[in-house]
């Protein structure tokens, strides 16, 4: 997904105004192709995420689109006030890139787990938030920003495999894809979504997976009417419950009076433990060791 991020920018820059790419001293073996080709538009500003976001705002104010790249927690929590005042309030064309979602930096420990970023950035409602599930959706998010601009946040995972390599995708809304035809609906986003399609329990005539590659402020009822026919609805995400996609889906169900069997598998931030481990170990531990079985059972 990171390679796709930089490939997309390089490709776009061939026929369009070249954006700027700032990094807080991260992106080794990812950002170099852009640095080499567009040295005047690439700045490693050093390890100063707060200043980097203000610098990005300053560059953007002069008519440019800017990507500001760091590990998720540093580009969001560390620089939150800069995101709020300098970028969001001024409606500038800055795309904040957060690398590593959920428990992808598992062995690195809590400082690197990105489980609250969605909650925090969701509070800045002028930001569009993208949580791509694969390389294709990463490309779509980057192109969307390059074409339309605006304060944007893209949380980048590590996956190489595309969801559409496993099942045929049906686009049902802006950055929302549906896999399968079943009436048991599973809703997910980000890097964990592919786990659903990879599971042997995913029978596309029984289940449908809805993947939100953009997390909308408010879920639009126009393209989710079919939820009315759902037998059950489950949400799977490796972030805390507060400010998550599940909270938006819950609002949608309540406002549309859809009384369906509903289950929401997310991270209880109050109980997160300190010991590290692999991404999958940590997902299992924090979502429940049988979370995948829970997802498919009635």
């Amino acid at each position: 997904m990171r390679k796709k991020f930089i490939e997309t920018i390089l490709e776009y820059s061939q026929n369009n105004q070249t954006p700027f790419v700032l990094t807080g001293d991260l992106g080794y073996s990812v950002l170099e192709p852009f640095e080499v080709k567009y040295p005047d538009n690439f700045f490693n500003v050093g390890i100063m995420e707060q200043s980097m976001m203000s610098i990005a705002a300053g560059i953007s104010s002069q008519g440019n689109k800017v990507f500001a790249y760091s590990i998720t927690n540093f580009s969001t929590f560390r620089a939150l006030e800069q995101l709020r005042l300098d970028i969001a309030y001024h409606k500038l064309n800055v795309c904040v890139i957060g690398v590593g979602t959920g428990f992808q930096y598992g062995p690195a420990g809590y400082s690197h787990w990105a489980i609250e970023d969605l909650a925090i950035v969701s509070g800045l409602e002028k930001f569009r938030i993208f949580s791509p599930s694969d390389a294709n959706s990463t490309q779509e998010a980057i192109i969307d920003f390059l074409k339309n601009g605006g304060p944007s946040y893209i949380r980048l995972g590590k996956h190489i495999r595309n969801l559409s390599d496993i099942h045929k995708a049906q686009e049902i809304g802006s950055h929302i894809k549906k896999f399968g035809l079943g009436k048991k609906i599973i809703i997910s986003h980000g890097s964990i979504a592919i786990k659903v399609l990879e599971s042997k329990s995913f029978n596309p005539s029984e289940f449908s997976l809805l993947v939100f590659n953009e997390i909308p402020n408010i879920v639009d009822s126009s393209y989710l009417k079919f939820l009315d026919e759902a037998i059950s609805i489950k949400v799977l995400e490796d972030v805390v419950y507060t400010g998550s996609l599940g909270s938006r889906i819950t609002r949608f169900l309540v406002e549309n009076k859809l009384n369906k069997p509903f289950e929401w598998l997310g991270v209880n931030g109050r109980n997160v433990k300190s010991a590290g481990g692999s991404e999958e170990y940590l997902r299992s531990r924090e979502l429940g060791f049988n979370y995948m079985q829970d997802l498919f059972k009635d």
């Binding site: 700045f43 050093g46 203000s54 300053g58 006030e81 005042l85």
Partner: protein, 237 residues
């Protein structure tokens, strides 16, 4: 303005007024950029824009009133203001960004000396020097007083000039109420270095009761005081 709105920061407005008038004239004449990082001295900024005829004098009467864009910290919705500030430590990195993207412009950033407490200011000093941003000038309104006391007693950064020089900037330390010295300092340019001007000022400058007094960071003159202060300024003009 401040008395009508019963708002704070008149002391800061009076310390920055002289240097703001000089910078504003350079900015408006040459289509340069000013980032006013000490956003709490907003009344002075709006007044300087009115003097330069960027905004109307009448609009100043709306300062601090319901529905007015002229709010208590500078607002980018007002003509002539690039960035809303109020959170300290944002102005210099914003200025670095503008200086990177618009080499043809000269970028002036005005900060308070209290704002030098902020780490982002020092981060930005380092990157501006690293990038040889010679189209960037930082002006420090060094009135020696911040929100809760004297700057030297809270976080003593003296000798300040040495720190800017060590960070790879050119720097001068001048009387911030001397118009001629300000013009001279702000016209200095380097081939490879950004410029810092430490402008030594007096909080509440021009009104004896306010000069050097922390309390005028917060107080607003009532109608009676206002008459006395205006008379004092008139007598000194």
């Amino acid at each position: 303005m401040i008395s009508n709105a019963n708002s704070s920061h008149i002391g800061s407005c009076l310390s920055v007024a002289d240097l703001l008038s000089v910078v504003q004239s350079l900015v408006q004449k040459n289509n340069n950029e000013l980032i006013f990082s000490k956003g709490h001295a907003a009344a002075a900024m709006y007044a300087s824009l009115s003097y330069e005829k960027v905004i109307s004098e009448d609009s100043l009467n709306t300062f601090g009133s319901d529905g007015s864009e002229l709010i208590g910290h500078v607002n980018h919705a007002v003509e002539g203001i690039s960035f809303s500030t109020g959170s300290l430590g944002h102005g210099l990195p914003l200025g670095v960004g503008v200086a990177i993207a618009s080499k043809s412009k000269h970028v002036y950033v005005i900060v308070s000396d209290g704002e030098l407490n902020e780490g982002t200011t020092w981060e930005s000093l380092a990157i501006a020097s690293q990038l040889k941003l010679n189209n960037l000038t930082l002006i420090i309104d060094a009135n020696g007083i911040q929100s809760f006391g004297e700057t030297k007693e809270i976080l003593n950064l003296d000798p300040l000039i040495d720190k800017f020089l060590d960070f790879g900037w050119n720097c001068v330390d001048i009387d911030g109420h001397s118009i001629s010295l300000l013009f001279e300092a702000l016209e200095k340019r380097s081939e490879i270095k950004p410029m810092a001007v430490i402008a030594r000022t007096i909080k509440g400058k021009g009104i004896k009761e306010m000069e050097g007094k922390l309390e005028w960071h917060y107080k607003s003159p009532d109608k009676e005081k206002l008459k006395i202060f205006i008379k004092e300024i008139g007598n000194n003009a």
